[in-house]
Symmetry: C2
Subunit: 190 residues, 2 copies
């Protein structure tokens, strides 16, 4: 999506460790015009896939998921992160490792909100290692729900995690696909 | 707003300690039709107030703030919660006490994203003790920004915190105003 690529080139800041800071428009301060366009584009990409629910993870996936959910007319469910495993039988829970903070956290949703007849679109702001997404897929598995596909704002293609999911047959659509961030220069996959 | 009141009566669950659980439609699973309507209603209520930015707090305020921001055509900024005070000079920070978890947390925004000429609309899902809102007002003060008003999905009027803010001259609009939750029965302020 040209609009998000231009925004990344204009406002994105590359930090050591291949971190791309997009807090000025995506995951702390949110450009709501861009957000609307992203929601509509995700709705277009997954039109006809029978999506019944969007699943994301707090906190920075929520706004994108909400925009997509309003465009698609489906509910949005967000998984919560906990540092401890104080979970009971009322939830589905999985463990995800965060490279950014170098720690494990528990990702939890209530059993009440995901059903075995749901066709779920996973939405997140970034796809890098793919571990958060694998966690969400695990939660869907536990619920017996089907993963209809994945929509991502910004994919770091150079990690290979996105292409691995595609090779497994997952319909994965990323609105901006970063092929390389080497030497402070961002290039997109055409 | 009739639509949210009806939803609270139909799906809200009252838990001990005057906790109202609305996870089925507002703060874990999100009814995006209701969310759109709430965003449009907040935009209507604050039309003409010169709002330049919406400020909310992660995680459950984000979807409502995003819906309102898209309706109003203004950016949304969300404050982050930290348990430790690992903050540096690049942020505004304040401390908020959570009754739910009985602990203090630090609420932080980057200095880059709030300016002294901003007119800020604060948005959150619940107003109970008002402490989170006071924290956001403190962050606006630190930035020299003006608080244009506050929009809340559900106000627990019986705490008195909302009326205290109104008495101080704050334009506070709540889409559902719960007068009482005594004996398992919810009554709204007319």
């Amino acid at each position: 999506m040209k609009q998000i690529e231009e925004k990344i080139l204009r406002e994105g800041v590359i930090l050591p460790g291949d971190i791309l800071k997009v807090g000025s428009f995506l995951n702390q301060n949110i450009d709501t015009g861009l957000l609307s366009t992203m929601g509509a584009e995700i709705a277009r990409l997954f039109d006809g896939y029978g999506v019944t629910k969007i699943l994301t993870i707090e906190a920075s996936g929520i706004a994108i998921a909400a925009a997509a959910g309003m465009s698609m007319g489906v509910p949005v469910l967000f998984a919560k992160k906990h540092k401890t495993s104080n979970v009971d039988g009322s939830v589905y829970s999985t463990v995800v490792h965060s490279f950014t903070h170098n720690e494990d956290y528990h990702v939890v949703i209530s059993r009440d909100y995901l059903r075995d007849d749901d066709k779920v679109l996973l939405v997140d702001d970034f796809l890098a290692s793919g571990r958060a997404l694998r966690g969400l897929m695990d939660l869907c598995d536990q619920a017996g729900a089907t993963v209809a596909g994945i929509a991502i704002a910004i994919e770091k293609c150079f990690t290979g995690a996105g292409d691995e999911l595609r090779a497994q047959g997952v319909k994965l659509e990323s609105l901006a696909m970063i092929e390389s961030m080497a030497e402070g220069r961002i290039t997109f996959r055409p």
